[in-house]
Symmetry: C2
Subunit: 134 residues, 2 copies
Amino acid sequence: MKYSIGEVAKKLNLTAYTLRYYDKEGLIPFVERTPNGIRMFKESDLDALKVIECLKSTGMPIKEIKNFIDWCSEGDASLQQRYDLFMERKATVFAQMEELEKTMELIEHKCNYYKTALDAGTEEIHKNNKIEGF
Amino acid sequence: MKYSIGEVAKKLNLTAYTLRYYDKEGLIPFVERTPNGIRMFKESDLDALKVIECLKSTGMPIKEIKNFIDWCSEGDASLQQRYDLFMERKATVFAQMEELEKTMELIEHKCNYYKTALDAGTEEIHKNNKIEGF
DNA sequence: ATAAACCTTATAGTTAACTCTAAGTCAAGG
DNA sequence: CCTTGACTTAGAGTTAACTATAAGGTTTAT
């Protein structure tokens, strides 16, 4: 099964513009074309795009993702680099999770703060509390 | 205890440029000045900045954060809006956590994939596996 | 008293990641 | 045959969030 750029855009919740931009940036050099130049995405191309989106969601910039794509076409010589890359990403994502936990704690604290204030009808209820200044 | 813009920048791991930018965007209207116009940050201003950084880390754009800051100076009339804002943020952060879990799963899968390939000396080891295409 | 190290303003420049426009090609349906 | 709609390219425009510059003022240490 092959897909047009519009179909892939829909499937992956991207735009055709974005996919052409990725192509221009060298992220999807493996996508084949019809004789008249139209991109034909294979199933494996979709898998690759999912990995690209995964890396992007970890905050990796497109230029670094391109390095990884380049390594992929270098074959076994780059296996160590690619392993290292994912191990480093794993650490990054772990740090992001911890960061997000802390964010959640403050958000929940604020939810409670405003719930209490709302129940009391005024924020004054917190004004004695030296810890909660804002 | 009062702090200069440079001290606050260091404390919160921002730059003085960023803090002046926040001020220009109306994020910190409560920061007072010396008679000759120099910003003097109070302890409570640091707390406010921490909340701003927290909201920012949830992906909230600066203009929306400004709305919240405006609500804060409106007093009790905006308690409901502020409560709603944090409840909505809570849902957002929860969704981000779930997203990050999925990302982590794919990353860990890739770590294993490359570990196996590295041990075998070649990526060929995965070529029979129809599920793992990339 | 003079240089270093801060601060101020207004405004211009940068960066990443899109996002869109213009001009044109191509295949299918009425 | 001709229109519709999806595709192509090159290149320009957008946006958010900084980031830096220029020109100048103030405070502190020698």
